[in-house]
């Protein structure tokens, strides 16, 4: 007469050598220090590839969102109203004359407003 336990263990007695080998293998692994992993910079960079891809995508989104789609102020001026360089120069001279006039130096304003000829200016400098 046997107990169920005895019968069950007896049925599998033949596996004991394999279990001994298995146990020895696991126990042998305990004494072994864990292998140090050396990580090259390539492996490191490769491990971060998804981070880089994510960051790149984020920057693309930021760049797209920052593009100014509103029409530029220059483009808003009608083409026929753009002043010519001569008109700009005349307007500038007029502004300067008015500024000097308001500051009280009318003579300067007159002379400054109408500069002499370049050839005459050269002669004056030469005399001095």
């Amino acid at each position: 007469m046997k107990t169920p336990r005895e019968i069950l263990l007896q049925q599998h007695e033949a596996i004991a050598p394999k279990l001994d080998a298995l146990r020895a293998g696991v126990v042998a692994g305990l004494g072994r220090p864990p292998a140090r992993e050396t990580v090259s910079w390539r492996d490191f960079a490769r491990s971060l590839r998804w981070h880089f891809a994510g960051l790149s995508a984020a920057w693309v989104v930021v760049a797209v969102l920052n593009i100014d789609h509103s029409p530029s102020p220059v483009a808003m001026i009608p083409r026929d109203k753009i002043p010519t360089p001569q008109q700009l120069w005349a307007s500038l001279r007029e502004s300067r004359r008015l500024l000097l006039e308001y500051s009280g130096d009318a003579s300067v304003a007159e002379t400054a407003a109408v500069p002499g000829r370049r050839s005459e200016m050269a002669d004056e400098q030469a005399v001095v």
Binding site: K2, T3, L9, Q11, H12
Partner: protein, 182 residues
């Protein structure tokens, strides 16, 4: 006969401290009962050896999570049981694990030591164990092989205590019926 869960002095503390010799003692003590349990559920030698090995490795790795050193055996069988359950899930046979017995659990009858089997009944006993549905088989094996208490079996199999009682009752009743018929 080794008293199974009789309060053995096992070097669990030393194993926790990482002593290989202590682990060797613990594994030697449990390797065959654990294999029997796994094999009777998995029904394949190589798979069973793999599960036993994985259980040992997991035990070494997670020994820190074991609070009560006296429960080392149940804890080890719990790891193995989870691995068997994973195997069953992988094989899409987990439906068999869900077959619960809805009846109220009756009081349990005789313990494993009271059940003695004659030599001519041994083969029939093994056949019957193999014919039981996996949930009942698991409970019966834990009861027979390591004489775990119902509470321990409930912990190992992560099953409510009432369910464990039902499964064990019906498994033992089937076993008795067969032995009486013989």
């Amino acid at each position: 006969m080794l008293g199974v869960t009789e309060r053995e002095q096992l070097p669990v503390g030393q194993a926790k401290a990482g002593e290989p010799e202590a682990w060797s003692v613990l594994f030697r003590r449990y390797q065959l009962p654990l294999y029997v349990y796994v094999f009777e559920l998995a029904r394949d030698e190589q798979t069973s050896l793999d599960i036993v090995q994985e259980t040992f490795i997991a035990a070494v790795r997670h020994i820190g999570s074991l609070r009560d050193e006296a429960k080392f055996g149940g804890w080890l069988f719990g790891i193995a049981h989870q691995k068997c359950a994973q195997l069953w899930r992988r094989q899409n046979r987990d439906a068999a694990w869900r077959g619960e017995i809805a009846e109220t659990p009756p009081d349990l009858d005789a313990g494993p030591d009271e059940l003695l089997i004659r030599r001519e009944e041994e083969a029939e006993f093994m056949r019957l164990v193999n014919e039981l549905p996996p949930p009942q088989r698991a409970v019966l094996l834990l009861h027979f092989v390591e004489d775990f208490s119902l509470e321990q079996i409930a912990e190992i199999t992560q099953t409510p205590l009432g369910t464990v009682k039902s499964r064990l009752h019906y498994a033992k009743r089937a076993l008795r019926k067969l032995l009486e018929e013989k």
